[in-house]
Symmetry: C2
Subunit: 186 residues, 2 copies
């Protein structure tokens, strides 16, 4: 009975497996529903195994948020490659659609309790994301701090309101065009 064939003692790439499974659980159950024991069960390891790869539950959430910012950065960088006619509007749409397609992850990225115990890794990932945001949007042209913040607020607010289901989608209304209309308004 010594674990004969499959299920080797060492997993191989447990960290990656944990992150993948955690993302699934996160999007399905929300941040509260993501428990370390559930996660370990889902991957098929012991409850204490994740502690070898993450600094407790907070460490796992941080790692998830970091991957979130990396994807976000990539999505924003890809916008500039497509050479859109209106770069700012295109970026805004990408911003909102990223939030909608990665709801729980997006919320986690901006979670205040993660920001509180500010781990350097998360801070770096977030700074990198916002740096490409600035770079892609204005080409570092200082179009006014106020105007930039106003644009950011409108896009971020739209994302959050849609995410939380506060903006009621009317019958036959397409979210995509609604986002475009709101972003391009004024």
């Amino acid at each position: 009975m010594s674990t004969p064939s499959n299920a080797p003692y060492h997993h191989g790439d447990l960290r990656r497996a944990l992150l993948d499974a955690a993302l699934l659980i996160l999007e399905r159950e929300g941040e509260t529903g993501l428990g370390l024991r559930d996660l370990a069960r889902a991957v098929g390891v012991s409850p204490a195994a994740p502690y070898r790869h993450f600094d407790g539950r907070a460490g796992l959430l941080e790692a998830l948020a970091v991957t979130g910012f990396q994807r976000f950065t990539r999505a924003m960088a890809d916008v500039s490659l497509s050479q859109p006619s209106d770069p700012l509007a295109a970026m805004g749409k990408t911003y909102v659609l990223f939030a909608l397609n990665n709801a729980a992850l997006f919320r986690l990225m901006f979670s205040p309790q993660l920001k509180r115990d500010n781990r350097p890794g998360l801070r770096m990932a977030a700074d990198a994301a916002f740096a490409t945001l600035r770079h892609v949007s204005g080409g570092d042209a200082p179009a006014g701090r106020i105007a930039a913040l106003a644009a950011w607020a409108r896009v971020h607010g739209l994302a959050v309101l849609l995410l939380d289901g506060q903006i009621a989608i009317q019958a036959g209304e397409d979210i995509d065009v609604l986002v475009s209309q709101i972003i391009e308004n004024q």
Copy 2:
């Protein structure tokens, strides 16, 4: 030793006391840090006592959110009484300042997991709040759904970004005037 003088068996107004203490803990520790046992300890009752007044932890959070929407509604209604020169901007400022002064409560009010198991009480309180929002802002004048949503998104996004500490406050910068500038931009 039969609890001689103080600490009567019945508290008197435990529900109110629980809500007050819960608000304090909420703003100090965040939603995750608000536990029923902690709360009961803080008020000085047994761990099971809160269950007589709230439907478990979710019920407590719902009650807190309802009081939040009531305060929010009141704050918005007070704006119209002051007869400002620019009602929309004044309302926006009130919106953001309410969020900043009731950070955790504001987050709870827009919490998606509370909205999920949509309890009628919370839904009614939220609807009432948004109704006065519409009434005060435009006097029910349909200035265009898109424009209204855009304005809401900008204000809400500004609140959330400030709440999460994403908008860095520069040295010697006053949040109040920054909010005004961003809201009145465009």
